[in-house]
């Protein structure tokens, strides 16, 4: 909540009921000086043609306060359009479509829909009114139960997240806006960016399809034209979105307007290797025991510093090449390859770094007749291999193109964003067939298959070279997956983040083009150009990782929630991590555009401790005694992994044995040492489509019809957290030799009623009986009532009602999905924090075997 709406949104306080007409203009005049430098930006904020006035008197009396429902603004954020609107859930619960019981049908929410230069925000008017109904005792903070983002509310999305906008034309006089929101395809029209479309008739509703699989539906109340004139709220919002959601240059993005400073906080402490320095690469070489390779920094290469020459090469600031090859020779060879990407080392495996993983681009189209250069390059790589062996894995022939991935993604998203219950059922009837036609799982299967092949190659001590046209797309996927399978370090949170920094950021996956952050306004068929560049290669990778997580649930420190959040974070322009195509672009933005660089890995910027807890997997095992599942190997590796500190930062890094050398010390002598990567903890995932599943949390979470209340993975995770929490509590009792605070499970296990506490506590207890809330360490905790042993009903139906530990009713998309009311948050928070203690502990008591 650091970015309060204080000084940034001075305008919001000025908007009183009657002056709402001037609201936005007022805003602009205030903020104008700040943006003078980037005049291109302000040009967009010219007064819009449509009438901004909210004619509140035309609204029903209970909706006239709608102007009060203003979104919270960040520093540098400003409202460009606002309109009263109804928000609909993506599709109504199935019941209302099939059964006659319309009593369950939830009405749409009324509120104010605003477009800012950062987000599309809907603030319900009922927020204040909702507090009233039947929630007597439980003023439970529902917010505890879903992920909260510092920058975004629940009904807000960044403009960056918007992929497609559909307009639904007005149906005719008789139809209400509510009906229009449920309108089917016939009147649904895609709003093409930049095309000055003539929208015939009023826009009754907008459907907004997001890159993160969310579908937002808004309907606009038609107004009696006699009273309000021709204010078409739909058109107002649509044209604002059309102008702001598709920036033609990156410096039009909100990130440049958001000037809040960023202070390297916990990130400095955490163990993420950013691969922004030569040392980061050197340490990785040491860790892998790779002695035949050298780090090159562009800044130290005269040729690359020569302004006349530098333009010929597009190499990253730091990269690793064979030792047996001089940089001059390397650069000379690299000119034959696309994007100058000739043989970058990324990883070595084997006790002495025997075999290496290398990324290579294809020869430039013009040079393809002559493969001599390629052969020379491969020969240089082969010399680095201990046994002089090498396998070339050509990805272009084996894997989908980025256009294939994009098509698959769009088809998949169509399956996940049905706009009506009828569409949902229609898809459901032949769901698996449609799913197969998307090819998405087929591509996931291919990625897993070829990364397994690469991993197997390295395991048999043969160097593996991954080759792809420019070496910056599916190379990243296969290379990262290979390392995840081989190296347990990358399965920790720190390790995974380091892996993404290494494979995706440092080696320059073109995020800006692939994620569609910018819609270049080139002449002519810009749509096609744009489409051919956009492709969620990164999501394909995350999906593969999710599949691995399903197959090896105790091998990863992170959860699916972490992966889903990572995808969401791609559309947060405030963080630079996923915003650029290459390092040069980022450096320019920071220098010329005054962009504040803010790594996404500093999760505290976006989330509170509570939400970060959901990133850590309660099943994760720091080390495993023996092989399990399909990972082979013999015996345990006592030099376990250090727990990452990215999640929660209560515990300082311990001095325990680490497999990653410290960030700050480099001892050149270490170059001769052996790899510290354990050789017996590789994974061998199944990769057939038969073995794969659909990533329901990420893709279905916006569909409440698919939410299994009280079921799914979150319930299992919670159960394990409960176990961990019990263990932690008992351990604490043992440590203190004080058995007053034993967990309830203990009393149930021994079949003993939980004792009344000591006389002093008894009085408190009497109070607690009436108001079962107490405050422990400043945290409000709800103490559950006594277990009900006396009159257990014969049918067992009442037990849980009587106040047994009832941790039910989490959403199966938790911490996404819809929150639920009840007593759960308190218990949940308690369990989360005590289990997390154990998860983050460096010397976990779970490893002590001599307790009894």
């Amino acid at each position: 909540m650091a970015t309060g709406s204080g000084n940034g949104s001075g305008g919001s306080s000025s908007g009183t009921a009657s002056t709402n007409h001037h609201h936005n203009n007022h805003h602009l005049s205030i903020d104008m000086p700040e943006h003078r430098k980037r005049n291109t930006f302000t040009s967009y904020v010219a007064p819009l043609p449509g009438d901004l006035r909210l004619n509140e008197w035309s609204l029903p009396s209970d909706q006239r306060d709608v102007h009060l429902a203003k979104p919270r603004l960040l520093l540098g954020e400003q409202i460009v359009a606002s309109a009263p609107a109804y928000m609909y859930s993506p599709i109504d619960p199935m019941e209302s479509a099939t059964s006659s019981s319309n009593l369950l049908h939830k009405e749409a929410i009324f509120g104010l829909l605003s477009v800012t230069n950062f987000k599309l925000a809907f603030v319900p008017l009922q927020m204040a009114r909702q507090a009233a109904p039947n929630s007597s005792a439980s003023a439970a903070p529902l917010s505890d139960l879903y992920q909260e983002n510092t920058y975004l509310g629940r009904n807000e999305i960044t403009l960056n997240n918007i992929d497609q906008i559909y307009t639904v034309a007005e149906l005719g006089r008789a139809a209400s806006a509510l009906q229009a929101a449920r309108m089917t395809s016939s009147r649904r029209k895609k709003l093409e960016p930049f095309k000055q479309q003539t929208i015939n008739g009023r826009i009754a509703a907008l459907h907004i399809v997001c890159k993160n699989f969310r579908l937002l539906k808004f309907a606009f109340q038609q107004q009696d034209s006699k009273l309000s004139g021709a204010s078409d709220y739909g058109k107002l919002i649509a044209s604002a979105l059309n102008r702001f959601a598709y920036p033609t240059r990156h410096d039009l993005s909100f990130a440049y307007a958001h000037r809040e400073a960023y202070y390297y906080s916990s990130l400095g402490v955490s163990g993420v290797s950013m691969y922004q320095t030569k040392n980061d690469w050197a340490r990785e070489l040491i860790r892998c025991g790779a002695s035949e390779w050298q780090v090159v920094s562009s800044a130290n290469v005269p040729l690359l510093q020569n302004p006349l020459q530098a333009g010929k090469y597009t190499v990253p600031p730091h990269f690793v090449i064979p030792k047996c090859c001089s940089i001059e020779r390397y650069l000379d060879l690299s000119r034959a390859f696309c994007d100058s990407r000739a043989a970058f080392w990324v990883y070595s495996y084997g006790s002495s770094g025997a075999a290496s993983l290398v990324r290579l681009a294809e020869l430039q189209p013009a040079a393809q007749q002559d493969t001599k250069v390629e052969n020379i390059m491969l020969e240089l790589v082969r010399k680095c291999d201990e046994r002089k062996q090498l396998k070339l894995l050509q990805l272009t022939d084996r894997l989908p193109s980025i256009q294939d991935v994009q098509r698959a993604y769009q088809k998949l998203r169509r399956l996940c964003t049905p706009e009506t219950p009828e569409k949902f059922m229609l898809q459901d009837d032949k769901y698996l067939g449609l799913l197969e036609k998307t090819n998405w799982l087929f591509y996931v299967s291919l990625c897993l298959r070829f990364s397994s092949e690469a991993a197997a190659t390295l395991r048999s001590s043969i160097t593996c070279v991954l080759q792809e046209s420019n070496g910056r797309d599916l190379c990243c996927v296969i290379s990262s997956l290979t390392q995840l399978q081989l190296d347990p370090y990358f399965r920790s949170i720190d390790g995974f983040q380091s892996l993404i920094q290494k494979e995706w950021i440092a080696l320059e996956h073109p995020f800006q083009r692939r994620l569609g952050h910018v819609y270049p306004l080139s002449a002519g068929a810009n749509d096609q150009f744009h489409d051919s560049e956009q492709s969620p290669v990164f999501l394909l990778f995350l999906d593969c990782v999710w599949q691995l997580l399903q197959q090896f649930p105790d091998e990863f420190e992170f959860t699916q929630t972490y992966l889903t959040t990572l995808w969401d974070s791609c559309f947060m322009p405030i963080f630079d991590t996923f915003q650029f195509d290459n390092h040069a672009q980022r450096a320019r933005a920071a220098k010329d555009g005054q962009l504040v660089l803010r790594p996404v890995w500093d999760w505290s910027e976006q989330f509170s401790d509570k939400d970060k807890m959901f990133f850590s997997n309660p099943l994760y095992q720091r080390q495993r005694a023996s092989d399990m599942g399909s990972s082979g190997g013999t015996g345990g590796n006592p030099s376990g992994l250090r727990r990452s500190l990215a999640v929660g930062h209560k515990h300082a890094a311990s001095s325990a044995v680490t497999s990653t050398p410290s960030r700050y010390t480099i001892n050149p002598q270490l170059f001769a040492t052996q790899s510290t990567v354990p050789q017996d903890r590789f994974l061998m995932p199944a990769h057939r489509i038969f073995d794969l599943a659909v990533w329901d949390q990420c893709y279905y979470r916006w569909l409440p019809v698919l939410d299994i209340r009280g079921g799914g993975q979150p319930q299992i995770d919670l159960f394990h957290r409960l176990l961990l929490s019990n263990i932690a509590k008992v351990q604490r009792c043992l440590d203190l030799q004080n058995f007053d605070e034993l967990p309830d499970a203990y009393y149930e296990a021994i079949g003993e009623a939980k004792p009344k506490r000591s006389p002093i506590a008894a009085t408190e207890e009497a109070v607690a009986d009436q108001e079962p809330i107490e405050y422990v360490d400043g945290v409000e905790r709800r103490r559950k009532s006594m277990p009900p042993p006396p009159s257990t009903p014969a049918n067992g139906l009442h037990t849980a009602v009587n106040g047994q530990l009832q941790l039910s009713s989490l959403s199966s998309f938790f911490p996404f999905g819809n929150p639920i009311a009840g007593d759960a948050p308190h218990q949940l928070y308690d369990i989360l924090s005590s289990s997390n203690e154990l998860l983050l502990e460096t010397s976990s008591i779970l490893d002590k075997s001599s307790i009894v």
Binding site: E436, P553, I708, L724, A745, G751
Partner: protein, 620 residues
Amino acid sequence: MDPSLSLADKLASKTASSNSLDSSSKSSSGGGIENGVLRDTPFAYLDGEEDQDQKNDVTYVCPYRGPVFGALTITNYRLYFRSLPLRDQELPVVVDVPLGVIARVEKIGGATSRGENSYGIEIFCKDMRNLRFAHKQQNHSRRTVFEKLQANAFPLSYSGRLFAFAHAAARATGAAGATAAGGWDGWAVYEPLAELRRLGVPNDMWRATKLNESYGICDSYPAVWAVPKAASDDFLRRVAQFRSRCRLPVLSWMNPRTQATITRCSQPLVGVSGKRNADDETYLSYIMEANAQSDKLTIMDARPSANAIANKAKGGGYESEDAYKNVEINFLDIHNIHVMRESLRKVKEACYPTTDDSKWQTAIDSTLWLKHIRCVLAGAVRIVDKVETMSTSVVVHCSDGWDRTAQLTALSMLLLDPHYRTVRGFEVLIEKEWLSFGHKFQQRIGHGDNKHSDADRSPVFLQFIDSVWQVSQQFSNAFEFNEHFLITIVDHLYSCRFGTFLCNTEAERVAEDLKHKTTSLWTHINSSLDQYLNPLFPSFTHGAELVLRPIASVRAVRLWKGLYCRWNPGLCALQHGCQRTRELLSKQDQLFKHVNELRLKSNNRSNNMQTTTRLASPMH
């Protein structure tokens, strides 16, 4: 009672359950390949199991490993094949199939057949696999194998008896007999009156009656019914006349809190002329009035409405909302037994022996199996919504009320009442809704009968078990039992080793005296419960939700690979198991035990010092 002892007991049982899944039982071991069996006795003979034939020169044409040469044994219970490994380290290929599983035996090839392994026997199984054995023509070994298989797999077609009788007889005469199995008799798991008492019957509105004790009113109904108190015995007799096969509406389940009920019956005999029956109409109003919470009654007709209408031509039909006051009728669109049989046949085609990974999803889609499962789940969820959310009583029927009706009532009861999600409760549920209310297991499975293309066969019960599995996948900690428990039930649905699934009706079972002449499957299961328990079902949270509402969408329903694809060793779905869960559980219990010891010590010390005060007092 010494608390430390009770704790030790509980902990012991928990630790034992921790390892249960590792020792997979014979019936469900994937691929049929086993290791570590002694050479002289290839398998453990069951009580009453006797050799019928043995051939040492048979080739099993394994669809995965290719032909393997070995010995074939046929007993009165099973077919057992074991290959002779060519090299020492090689694991032998073992096929161990209860004869009850066999649907059909065919000879392949004739005396003139040429080509390797073209002469022999092909066996089609009810559990989704086919087996092929090749014989050498010159040995004349095929004839006796074929004859012995026919005689022992289809005893009812060859005037023999099912193995369950020989098995129980041998057990009874064997040492200590039935009491050896832990002294627990599975036949006693379901006591109709006790179960009704659990639901709160008798009460002001409902009574239990033994009107049908001799099965005189309805021969496919149980002896004990619960009916509205307002209906007299004579009245019940008259109502029965208006229902197909006299299966009048009787109570399946009642919500003890709201008194909303689920009753089941068969279709009314409306016919093309639209006959009415005042007694039947009054009877349904009694059912409605027995629930004070609602002035409506919902009828769930499991069939597609077109089928329900078509049934009028055969004298059946459905309740018209005009004739029945305050009644609303819904059609749940579940298809008949023939459609389900065809659908499962296609599943087998897609799963066995091999699958095409690139066409896998389309192949499963086109079986429509998941769609059918979705319909069953959706129907059950609608019943749950009526009963739980609207507190309205529901009457469920299809045509005869013993197939789709059983699926719907049993499944909705499972969703509504956590008791049915425990091992014992689930056994009760099957005994009550399936066995006592006359699901025709004999006809639907065709025990010991060689009429493999009998149109009465259908996987209705299997579909129910599949639906239960789907719910257990969506709510992994709501069930006391695990997947292995369900697979074991399916295996013994066919095996004919136990009496549980024999015969069609309770009347037949009583006439056959199954309770005394066969063993119950529940005796077998409950005597080694540990391997069937779900570690995620925690004693201390009482399984999360009280009422489950699974998602009935093909997006959320999955093909049960662990059942349908288990014979293909390459397709065995990945089992990551619950090892970590067990580790944590045992860690927790270890700590609890430790704490308990310490507390006892300090208690004793303080007791010694001042015997009057006791801290935490244990249960007496």
